[in-house]
Symmetry: C2
Subunit: 290 residues, 2 copies
DNA sequence: TGATTTATCTGACTTTAGTCAGGTAAATTG
DNA sequence: CAATTTACCTGACTAAAGTCAGATAAATCA
């Protein structure tokens, strides 16, 4: 374990110096870091002054002064909030957009340089996803979305690709009993995605049926977010939705090529039952009474 | 590529906030960050004031004041350098050791917490090694060492383990023509390791013989540091040593289970020759004239 | 409607970080 | 050995970050 920690700390030193170098390049724009951070927060779409303050952890007095200095530079414009005149809204002026673009360029440039100088950039990005997901595990947001929405499709695409990779016979969603979107939306069912700092890292569908039970479908966790207990949380979220909808019996099926999934359902208190559908893919069938 | 960059920047945000949180926990000790950093540098064995100054990038005036404040807290003691009375040496007092231990604990605690809360900590550490190596690629140090030294053995152990994993018949160093240490040390030969922030990430041996040629042996790059051009640099270092020793002909052998190595030698201007030894493992034989 | 809460602003302040121009004493050079 | 260089120290300064106690105006509550 001691050696593990020294590896962790070597990583810490490396990223600390990288973060410091980026800060230093930001200072090259002739503006204190605090002001640069506020400008960038606004550029990234945070218009609500209170939200920026919370995000950057700034004192209200300090925030006020930083906004003033950006205003004097004519990089931002402040206005009263539309429904609450106390809450101020900040937007970039054209000059602010230009300045923000330069900061973006500085950031992107470092990213591109590192990625393009590596012979295996995808491996590097996978490693980054893994670490970012582990560091961000206590900032997950669970959102109920339309299963046809952009984020949902991003999850499902990766889910299908993984099934196709791992199932002996491959996987073609058209051959499977693909639930239609309405069955996974209120009032019949629900569909959840988990976002980790904006990146979709997991999903789960609750498919209502008229057969006296509902099904859990499309439970998927991104490889980068595995081992963090996300599946359990997604499952809890989905079961809660089922209870709200008055559902008493949950069922699901899975494949023998996914042993960790089979294991997970057993550990989570599901009981194995007989085949309850004629979908060609599943080998295992589970049930849980709510 | 745009999506790659957004993944990179998600990683950046995650580690920035992690770095910030650690700094914040350091501030909880009631000492400004600058002083804490100096104390920690001394605790980690940097006694030379000039070295600390270079490492932390501090102005001499600021450094002097930070040392003074730590001295007033009776956490460190300064003395004149043994051979140069201008260079000051800093060491921790017992109270300083105690305070340093607390900072260490804060750092290690975060590391342990993250690692132990993850189901696959080794995957996380591999990811960290990969990223730390990529970020630290312009701070490699090449050192000529005794092939029996600790760092050399660390490299060789991993090298043998990988051969054993990848070669069809496995690999037992005792069955191979294991060069004795003297043949890879001056004046016969040389042995190099590459350190990346203290971690050995690669090695290469130059084995002198009395047969009119010298051999490149044990060229290895850690998986975390592959794709960064390290093998080429190690090779250049080794060839330079060979030239210094007046060697005119270099030879090496390798195995068909290591296609990237075979590829590398071809690309680096080596010419394939007939088998020149009776070692059971190699399938390919190369030569290069200096 | 008057009292209270909330979001932001202002002024006065402290601490930390960082810069710069000399100064001192040890070491090195010609 | 005198002149110069080097490593560190000191004092005087500036800028940035952060804190805190009111002030103000909009929103909400009783």
């Amino acid at each position: 374990m001691l050696n593990d920690i020294s590896r962790f700390r070597r990583f810490s030193r490396a990223v600390t110096s990288e973060v410091g170098a980026l800060d230093h390049s930001f200072l090259g724009r002739g503006r204190p870091l605090g002001a640069a951070r506020v400008l960038n927060a606004i550029g990234h779409g945070r218009t609500d002054v209170a939200a920026i303050r919370a995000y950057l952890g700034l004192d209200s007095g300090l925030m006020s002064r930083l906004l003033r200095s950006l205003e004097e530079e004519e990089l931002i414009e402040l206005s009263a909030g539309p429904d609450d005149g106390r809450k101020r809204q900040a937007v970039l002026t054209p000059a602010g957009e230009a300045e923000f673009a330069i900061y973006e360029h500085l950031s992107n440039e470092r990213a591109e340089k590192l990625l393009s100088s590596h012979a295996h950039p995808q491996a590097l990005l996978d490693a980054m996803d893994l670490i970012a997901s582990a560091l961000g595990r206590d900032r997950w947001s669970f959102e109920e979305v339309d299963p046809r929405s952009e984020v949902a499709l991003q999850c499902l695409e990766q889910y299908y690709a993984e099934l196709n990779r791992r199932l002996e016979a491959g996987f073609d969603v058209k051959l499977s009993a693909d639930p239609d979107a309405e069955s996974m939306m209120r009032p019949k069912g629900a569909f959840f995605v988990t976002l980790s700092d904006g990146m979709p890292v997991g999903c789960a569908g609750l498919k209502g049926t008229d057969k006296g039970y509902a099904e859990i479908k499309r439970l998927w966790v991104s490889p980068a977010a595995r081992g963090l207990g996300l599946a359990r949380k997604l499952m809890a979220e989905t079961e809660e939705a089922a209870r709200q909808l008055g559902i008493k019996v949950l069922r699901l099926d899975t494949n023998k090529a996914l042993p960790e999934a089979v294991n997970f359902y057993r550990k989570e208190g599901w009981t194995e039952i007989d085949r309850f559908n004629d979908d060609p893919y599943p080998d295992y069938f589970f049930e849980k009474l709510l």
